[in-house]
């Protein structure tokens, strides 16, 4: 039922040069996430289970945004109630299969789209979906608990992101699930020169052509007058200062040599511990997810801690524990050496600065200080994550970059922002970086081709993917959610964080009531309004709370009564709102930009909000 196009094929299609220019249709959104993200969106394949109003609203937003390949799965026929609640199922469609009618109606929103319909349940979908049929994301809008669990398991195994959403009356929630999601975060903080940007410029270990150009164009500085000095782009100053230190070789040779030794050792250690792959990391994936849902920052540090705590023999069977401790020591030493070097460069710049107060000098010093004050290591954080990709391509690219960094340093960032000064010099500097970035990409591709690994042919790894990884290396991060498990609170937990506790408790009550309602309805019929059922529902909700390890006073009779009264009542606004939110989350996961929702999101009437984490 799904097409056979693999991810690589799709990626190749996206290299079509015709698509490089922004299409007028998507102009207003391309200015938010850029052309490459828009291309990802247009080559995404999305499955939406459920064709009631929420499912239709999700599909509508995705189609308008440019998703061109959508599969609708639904096993019901259109009723009169559907035609009143679902904008995209008109009265004429009553009696038809919902999925088919919806596919036909939605086509109008995006003439380029291929909208397929499958008459079947979530179970049908899970059974027919084979792992080589690549889906960008699966969205479940209505189904039974057991079938949701089935789809969730399939998605987890296939590392496909999943969004589960549910609206009933004025209450609703979105539960995301993705075992691993790489984010290319560049473009998220426009206007700020972040620490990552700074590192990606590689000024402390400048590449050869950069040093050569800076020297040839600006050295010695004594030839310039004050006005000319003020026009030198600030990165040049750092490179020149770095050069001047090295130049005084007779005095400092011993020290530099020491540093080189440390570096070589560190690199050797790094090579022994390449990017983590495969299943064995699953165990500490579980451990770190607690933190991931609290806050991304904490998640990262948590993750590093867990990663570091893994004994050496588990990390690489060949190493023993002593050696691993050694390499850690060397890394620390390396870090100290970096700090020392930064101090020296700053010192040199200050010497040169005497009597002058030039803004480019101030900026260069400020940037160096930021590098020196940074607490973590200079290397890209993506390599510190214990990855467990099934996507071997990405893992191999990262490993190649790691190995090559010994010889050539980290790949540079392609785009330089916020450079001021002499326009010609800035343009030349930009060109230098572009050329170096191209060389870096080429080197990684060469390395991949030369590698002797059977599973993925090196020359099948698309160059543009390598380019994307290289130029985003310092900005990439990984996000994860817990695995969805109905028996285990659907992957949700109440945060211990006191600040958000009241809201989280409130949403937890609704979350419980709604799940209890669903479970109760599966076993009984006609729960509306009846007082007996009301008690039954409350009991069911409290039983759920206990089995999830939550406090049973989270759910109150009010919650239950409200659910009972509003269930089945059409709240068109809620469907549109939650549909839009889910579509937005899907887009974020597809384009790998912006921070995705990583915990449970509960919403009630758009006035109260809460995050269950």
């Amino acid at each position: 039922m799904l097409g056979e196009t693999g991810p690589l094929e799709q990626e190749n299609a996206s290299c079509n040069p015709e698509e490089e220019t922004p299409q007028a249709r998507y102009l207003r959104q391309v200015s938010i996430w850029g052309n490459s993200a828009q291309r990802l969106l247009q080559h995404a394949r999305v499955a939406i289970i459920g064709s009631a109003s929420v499912g239709a609203e999700v599909a509508k937003c995705l189609l308008l945004s440019g998703v061109n390949d959508i599969l609708l799965v639904d096993d019901a026929r259109t009723t009169v109630a559907d035609s009143e609640q679902n904008f995209f199922l008109p009265p004429e469609a009553v009696g038809e299969w919902r999925a088919l009618a919806l596919a036909q109606q939605l086509q109008r929103l995006n003439p380029f789209a291929r909208i397929q319909a499958r008459v079947g349940s979530a179970r049908t979908f899970a059974a027919e979906w084979t792992s080589h049929q690549r889906l960008s994301i699966v969205i479940v809008t209505e189904s039974t608990q057991s079938q949701v669990q089935l789809v969730a398991d399939r998605c987890w195994e296939a590392t496909t992101p999943l969004l589960i959403l549910r609206v009933e009356g004025l209450v609703g929630y979105i539960t995301p699930q993705f075992p691993e999601q790489i984010l290319f975060q560049r473009g998220q903080h426009p206007g700020a020169l972040s620490l990552d940007c700074l590192r990606a410029m590689r000024l402390i270990q400048p590449f050869e052509t950069l040093t050569a150009w800076c020297l040839q164009r600006f050295w010695p500085l004594s030839q310039w007058d004050e006005a000319q000095l003020a026009q030198i782009p600030w990165p040049v100053l750092i490179v020149l200062a770095r050069y001047a230190i090295q130049d005084e070789s007779s005095l400092h040779r011993a020290r530099t040599w020491d540093r080189e030794i440390v570096r070589t050792q560190a690199m050797a250690a790094a090579r022994r511990a390449p990017v983590q792959t495969s299943e064995r990391n699953e165990s500490f994936t579980e451990g770190f997810v607690e933190g991931a849902l609290e806050s991304p920052q904490r998640a990262i540090s948590e993750c590093c801690r867990v990663h570091d705590a893994v004994p050496g023999d588990e990390r690489d069977p060949g190493d023993n524990t002593d050696e691993s401790t050694d390499s850690k020591l060397q890394l620390d030493q390396n870090q100290r050496a970096e700090a020392l070097l930064l101090e020296e460069i700053m010192e040199r710049l200050r010497e040169w600065q005497t009597n002058r107060r030039l803004s480019n000098w101030t900026q260069a010093l400020a940037m160096l200080r930021r590098l020196a004050n940074a607490t973590d290591r200079m290397e890209p954080s993506i390599l510190r994550f214990p990855l467990s990709f099934r996507d071997e391509t990405m893992t191999r690219i990262l490993r190649a970059i790691r190995v090559l960094s010994d010889q050539r340093g980290w790949p540079v960032c392609r785009e330089l922002d916020h450079l001021s000064g002499d326009a010609v010099a800035v343009a030349a500097l930009k060109r230098l970086y572009q050329e170096q970035a191209d060389r870096d990409v080429e080197a990684v591709c060469e390395f991949l081709k030369s590698e002797d690994i059977d599973s993925v042919q090196g020359d099948l790894i698309p160059t543009h993917l390598v380019r994307r990884v290289c130029s985003n290396l310092f900005f990439m991060t990984v996000r994860r959610t817990r695995r969805y498990s109905f028996l285990n609170g659907c992957g949700a937990s109440i945060p211990s964080n006191s600040e958000r506790l009241p809201q989280a408790r409130r949403s937890a009550g609704w979350f419980l009531a709604l799940h209890a309602y669903d479970g109760y309805q599966e076993s009984t019929t006609g729960v509306q309004g009846d007082a007996d059922h009301s008690i039954g529902l409350l009991n069911e909700a409290q039983r759920l709370a206990e089995s999830w390890g939550w406090s049973s006073d989270l759910v109150t009779p009010d919650h239950v009564r409200h659910i009972q009264q509003t269930a089945g009542r059409a709240e068109p606004a809620m469907a549109v709102m939650l549909g839009a939110l889910a579509a937005q989350e899907a887009i974020k996961l597809i384009i790998q930009r912006f921070e995705p929702l990583a915990g449970n999101f509960g919403i009630r009437r758009a006035r109260q909000y809460g995050l269950l984490c």
Binding site: P22, K430, Q565, L597, G599
Partner: protein, 451 residues
């Protein structure tokens, strides 16, 4: 001034403590009903209320489409929609009632037709016009006005219009009036948006918080545009803001972002500059996009905010609108963040504030022109076309044109020659003038003190 609380308790409101301020009186006067028990109690009855409402949707853009769609789904039968724009291709990434074959047609008429086709018994009327061109009586015929407008100026205009129809004679009668229109205003920018309810004299109005709206000026830092262009947008901005004024010396007048010739000119120059710096991607549609200062817009945020506005209408009709937290703020860049805020009214708000009397001190020797200029740049007033009347005599009228021509000669006269006041005062004289602004529908008492 912004209280960061998801649902502030009623008693914490500044409003209730202020003496002389109006008690809430509108749909929501019985509206403490934020507890679950009141929701569905009389569903059939409240739905009937929603259905009997007359709602005006100002703006048939992305927000307008979603508001209309959702209102119709709720069964609202009498809806009017007004918009002066036509459908462009760059609208189709979010405006759910239009498709490719509608390009070039009126947004309001197309949206109304689409809605009528889907809901046979829904009485939707489209008006292809600017809101500013409609008579006040038109607005008076609606109980709720929902705005999905795209400019701050249009919002300010609509806001003052609501107060005009809510305040036929004065504050006292507004208090007792049975009719009080409500304005629900939605706005989005990229992945963020807001929806707010304005109940005249109860909640902060647009003018109370006019500072919160971003300046609709240039979006790109000038130093980048001139010195180090990196993006095609920078080249376009350079052509428009640096080359256009210098090369035309005003012969073609100011740059009109909707004039095809002007766009073509800017496109040519931007292309040249982009080639110099090796930048790709300058296209005619991008030129339009930059010149018209288009705000980034996506389907999802607009659907969310549009539906939130429509839900607000329904809640208003059912008396379950939150009395205090009238401002919903949404941000989707980092997870999902939705907050309900309470915002205090501004006492010095020129539209609704009790201290809205303006006093201006000037030298009697200064020409009238200086006063008019001051009114245009005044941080609280920000007049567009100010007109001044003193003792039933027009001093300066910026519209209509014949009056402008007659009163223009006053501009260069010193103020103390135009306003002949109390001769007894030794150092200063106070004059009470009426200030009106046809651009903003503003009418205020101004105390001018001449020294």
């Amino acid at each position: 001034m912004v209280a960061l609380e998801s649902a502030p308790p009623r008693s914490s409101s500044m409003e209730t403590r202020r003496e002389g301020w109006l008690p809430p009186k509108s749909f929501s006067s019985s509206a403490m009903a934020f507890e679950p028990k009141c929701d569905a109690a009389s569903a059939s009855e409240t739905e009937r209320v929603a259905r009997s409402m007359r709602v005006l949707v100002a703006g048939a853009g992305a927000l307008g489409c979603e508001i209309l769609r959702t209102l119709a789904l709720y069964g609202v039968k009498e809806i009017a929609v007004i918009d002066m724009d036509v459908i462009e291709e760059s609208n189709l990434n979010r405006q759910s009632l239009f498709s490719t074959e509608n390009i070039g047609q009126s947004k309001a008429l197309t949206a109304a037709a689409a809605l009528r086709e889907r809901f046979r018994d829904c009485d939707v009327v489209g008006y292809h016009a600017a809101i500013q061109d409609m008579p006040l009586d038109f607005f008076r015929s609606f109980q709720v006005i929902v705005s999905g407008l795209d400019s701050v100026e249009a919002r300010r205009w609509l806001n003052s219009c609501i107060f005009h129809i809510a305040r036929p004679v004065g504050l006292e009668s507004a208090r007792n009036a049975s009719y009080a229109p409500v304005l629900i205003d939605g706005g989005t920018e990229g992945l963020a948006g807001q929806a707010r309810t304005i109940r005249p004299y109860e909640t902060a109005c647009i003018e109370c918080t006019v500072d919160l709206y971003a300046n609709e000026g240039t979006q790109y830092p000038l130093c980048t545009v001139v010195g180090t262009p990196r993006e095609p947008e920078h080249c376009i901005e350079y052509a428009a803001s640096a080359l256009w004024p210098s090369q035309h010396n005003g012969s073609l007048g100011p740059l009109d972002p909707y004039n095809a010739e002007h766009i073509e000119w800017v496109y040519g120059r931007a292309r040249q500059r982009a080639e110099q710096f090796g930048i790709d991607g300058v296209t005619v549609s991008l030129v339009k996009h930059v010149l018209q200062h288009s705000v980034p817009a996506v389907a999802t945020t607009n659907a969310f905010i549009g539906a939130a506005c429509a839900l607000e209408v329904v809640k208003l009709a059912n008396g379950i609108s939150h009395p205090d937290a009238t401002w919903l703020a949404f941000n989707g860049t980092s997870g999902i963040c939705i907050q309900s805020l309470h915002i205090d009214r501004r006492r010095s708000c020129p539209i609704c504030g009790p201290e809205s009397r303006i006093t201006i001190h000037m030298s009697g020797k200064a020409p009238l022109r200086e006063l008019v200029e001051l009114l245009r740049t005044h941080p609280e007033l920000r007049c567009r076309n100010p007109s001044l009347v003193w003792a039933y005599r027009p001093i300066y009228m910026s519209a209509p044109r014949p009056l402008e021509e007659v009163t223009r000669q006053n501009l260069d006269k010193p103020l103390n020659q135009i306003l002949i006041g109390n001769q007894n005062a030794e150092n200063s004289a106070e004059f009470i003038l009426t200030l009106t602004d046809s651009g903003l529908r503003l009418s205020r008492e101004m105390h001018l003190i001449l020294h």
